[in-house]
């Protein structure tokens, strides 16, 4: 293949104008406001079009069926992350920040940071937080109930709770925590194209980026927290002192907005499926299943890209080397080929194996943190709240990667 560019990246060809072979072409824009607000029809079209499609607007390939998304997520050898997991190819365009040592790295670079984070965020290591988080959750629910009337499920529950427990667990200081959500939103918008969502968020983000950078320094992280433990790993030589702040940064990027929207998705599901909430009330141990089912059903992280390392076969269709592939986690999690009554939010199903946290080498390093937060909040909710009722029209906040609620007007009906 010839190339017309003459710079150092000349060996990497620009995106092909047309796909090779007989890959179906779709003219949809998955990052348009309409699709971001309601992605399900587009995802249905993508799945029914075939295992692989070519999105002509962006010159990228896309997959939406569970089997193919699952296979791509686990095949790190063929579908690499180091060229970025957004639409932009880091080998052609410089990323907006130094790449993540986890999300945007391949083995062997990925190995050491991942091992450190996996052990710090293991379910076993988190157990010491369980009782405290449940107490915190009870207070958050009590405070919400004490207000008596209607509330915003996003601001008053889904945000308040993670913002109360997670920054403390990381070891952040008290000031500036309001930067966390805008930073996460920005980072997740930045995986998409340079549309209005990204450019408008870009204007004010400078101070937020600077604040995040400051928090990753050793002296700004309280002893005992995840951040200090990451630095302690660098004292043992398990990662280098240069890597430590970037590993901390990965928690601050990926840890807040994702969880907020996972919790909000679950609350929304409870409000719109009173029968399912009644099951949780009857059997509070279902809190974990309920949250994972909500992560499957709503897929707070909707999409991630990979880049083909070599020509790769996807169920009989070819992705040429160096092309970007958009994996629709949200679509895979609703694929009727994998899930019975895939659109139903159902606490009776086994949501195990959903790809809402990804799968394989890059599978969410913070999944046990998210699950523990959810277990605490929904256990506390089920203790005190008889019903969650929707009292107004919920609104979305579009994001290039996340499926988010802006506002969730609900009423908590206390138990007898």
């Amino acid at each position: 293949m010839t190339s017309t560019t003459t710079d150092a990246t000349a060996s990497i060809p620009p995106p092909a104008p047309e796909p090779g072979g007989d890959v179906p072409v779709l003219d949809v824009d998955p990052f348009s406001p309409e699709v971001l607000l309601d992605p399900l029809p587009m995802q249905h079209e993508l799945r029914e079009t075939g295992p692989l499609a070519y999105l002509s607007r962006y010159g990228v390939y896309a997959m939406g069926r569970y089997a193919d998304v699952h296979a791509a997520l686990t095949n790190w050898q063929g579908f690499i992350s180091s060229a970025g997991v957004g639409v932009s190819d880091f080998r052609r365009e410089p990323p907006w920040r130094p790449p993540s040592l986890l999300l945007e790295a391949d083995p062997p670079h990925h190995d050491a940071p991942r091992a450190v984070l996996t052990s710090i965020l293991s379910a076993r290591a988190l157990r010491r937080l369980r009782d405290r988080w449940l107490e915190d959750a009870r207070e958050v629910v009590a405070a919400a109930l004490a207000r008596g009337g209607d509330l915003d499920g996003v601001a008053d529950l889904a945000e308040v709770f993670p913002l109360r427990v997670f920054p403390d667990a990381v070891g952040l200081g008290p000031d500036g925590r309001e930067h966390l959500i805008p930073y996460g939103s920005f980072a997740f918008n930045a995986f998409g194209p340079r549309n209005d969502l990204l450019t408008s968020a870009e204007r004010d983000i400078g101070p937020t980026i600077a604040w995040i950078g400051e928090q990753c320094r050793r002296e700004n992280l309280a002893p005992g927290g995840f951040g200090a433990q990451i630095w302690a790993a660098s004292d043992r030589g398990d990662i280098t002192p240069e890597q430590a702040p970037l590993v901390v940064r990965s928690l601050l990027t990926a840890g807040v907005d994702t969880t907020v929207n996972g919790l909000a998705a679950c609350l929304h599901a409870f409000a719109t499926h009173p029968d399912q909430y009644a099951r949780l009330r009857a059997e509070p141990a279902l809190a974990r299943v309920a949250f994972d089912e909500a992560v499957r059903w709503e897929s707070p992280v909707q999409t991630f890209f990979r880049t083909a390392e070599v020509d790769i076969d996807v169920s009989g269709f070819r992705v040429p080397a160096d092309r970007k592939i958009l994996m629709f986690l949200g679509s895979a999690n609703r694929d009727p080929r994998r899930w019975q009554a895939s659109d139903a939010f159902d606490l009776g199903r086994d949501p195990s194996g959903h790809v809402g946290f990804g799968m394989g080498l890059h599978q969410c390093a913070g999944q046990h943190v998210a699950r523990l937060e959810a277990e605490a909040l929904f256990t506390a909710l089920a203790e005190r709240v008889e019903r969650v009722e929707l009292v107004g029209e919920p609104t979305r906040k579009p994001n290039n990667t996340l499926r988010t609620w802006q506002q969730l007007p609900i009423r908590l009906v206390p138990t007898g």
């Binding site: 095949n75 030589g237 959903h354």
Partner: protein, 314 residues
């Protein structure tokens, strides 16, 4: 059983040095095998239920095959002899792990020291060091050239590999090569006890983490194979029978008890359950040796029981 990747088939077996057999293992259905990192080992469950640990020494970029190399241990209890004398192509073996207690620590410069069969975990480390663009040197000792595996593979690295057979050159010149510790330099050593003892003595007082070693110590317990056992649920006192080859999580689910799983390969940690009584037979990639010995929790997607009854906190 192959659904969870816990049974492998011997796809190739050949002698690669005097007393050293290299074995290739694949999934019977051709599925991907669990990912691993340099320094990892697997539990190999031999057809008669004997379990031994072997370091993965192949190419991790090929997700469909594991390579191990087994030295015949004359003074042993017979695990390695069984591999040499009885295991043949198309035999089935059980898999635990992979687990890693000997990780490659990030550094700009590496010294690798291998004694005899201790070369196995070092091979993938060398591949990683190459890909990371790090400087490295290997000091490789053994009784004689004929007993030292993988010399051919290593010859392409030229003088970065120092081959040092005892019968030609005496013991490894550790002192000269170990040198002084430096922040950007890490030393990884694997080999027989006396070699490791000498290295530890020579490097006493080095900064934490600058020296990493692995001992191929004999495992203390022999394992169970896939026999049936009972799981008791602590909250209700109910007993759920687990048949041979049936994952615990499936037996639980069939009995109406749902435990969330995700990877089903003992890698992600989602299905961890506390063990209140009984001794689990761990097959996961997550617990370290101490956590395994404590037996306080297990991953019910892959792990089983050594005792006829396990009481789980469910």
């Amino acid at each position: 059983m192959s659904e969870t990747g816990r049974t492998l088939v011997v796809a190739d077996k050949r002698l690669v040095a005097a007393g050293v057999a290299a074995i290739e293992l694949r999934d019977p259905d051709g599925a991907r095998l669990p990912d691993w990192t340099p320094g990892s080992h697997i539990d190999l469950v031999l057809p008669d239920g004997v379990v031994r640990q072997y370091s993965l020494c192949g190419d991790r970029r090929d997700a469909h095959v594991y390579r191990i190399a087994v030295l015949r241990e004359v003074a042993g209890r017979g695990g390695s002899a069984q591999v040499h004398d009885r295991l043949v192509v198309s035999d089935r073996v059980g898999l635990g792990g992979p687990r890693n207690a000997f990780r490659l620590a990030p550094a700009a410069r590496y010294l690798f020291v291998a004694g005899g069969i201790g070369i196995t975990p070092i091979l993938p480390m060398i591949d990683a060091a190459e890909r990371l663009g790090a400087q490295w040197q290997l000091l490789y000792g053994g009784r004689s050239r004929a007993s030292m595996a993988f010399l051919d593979d290593l010859s392409r690295y030229g003088d970065r590999v120092v081959v040092h057979p005892v019968d030609e050159a005496g013991l490894l010149p550790l002192d000269a090569h170990l040198g002084e510790p430096a922040p950007d330099r890490k030393v990884h050593v694997c080999g027989p006890g006396p070699l490791l003892d000498a290295v530890h003595a020579r490097c006493a007082g080095w900064p934490a983490g600058s020296l990493r070693t692995e001992r191929f110590v004999a495992a203390e317990v022999d394992a169970t194979n896939d026999r049936a056992f009972d799981v008791e649920l602590a909250s209700s006192g109910r007993t759920v029978p687990v048949g041979p080859g049936i994952p615990v999580v499936d037996a639980l689910r069939a009995a109406g008890v749902s435990v969330l799983t995700s990877c089903r390969r003992g890698l992600c940690g989602t299905c961890e359950v506390d063990v209140l009584d009984g001794v689990p037979d761990h097959r996961d990639s997550l617990l370290d040796d101490e956590e395994r010995r404590s037996g306080r929790s297990m991953f019910v997607c892959v792990s089983r029981s050594r005792t006829p009854r396990l009481v789980l906190d469910l």
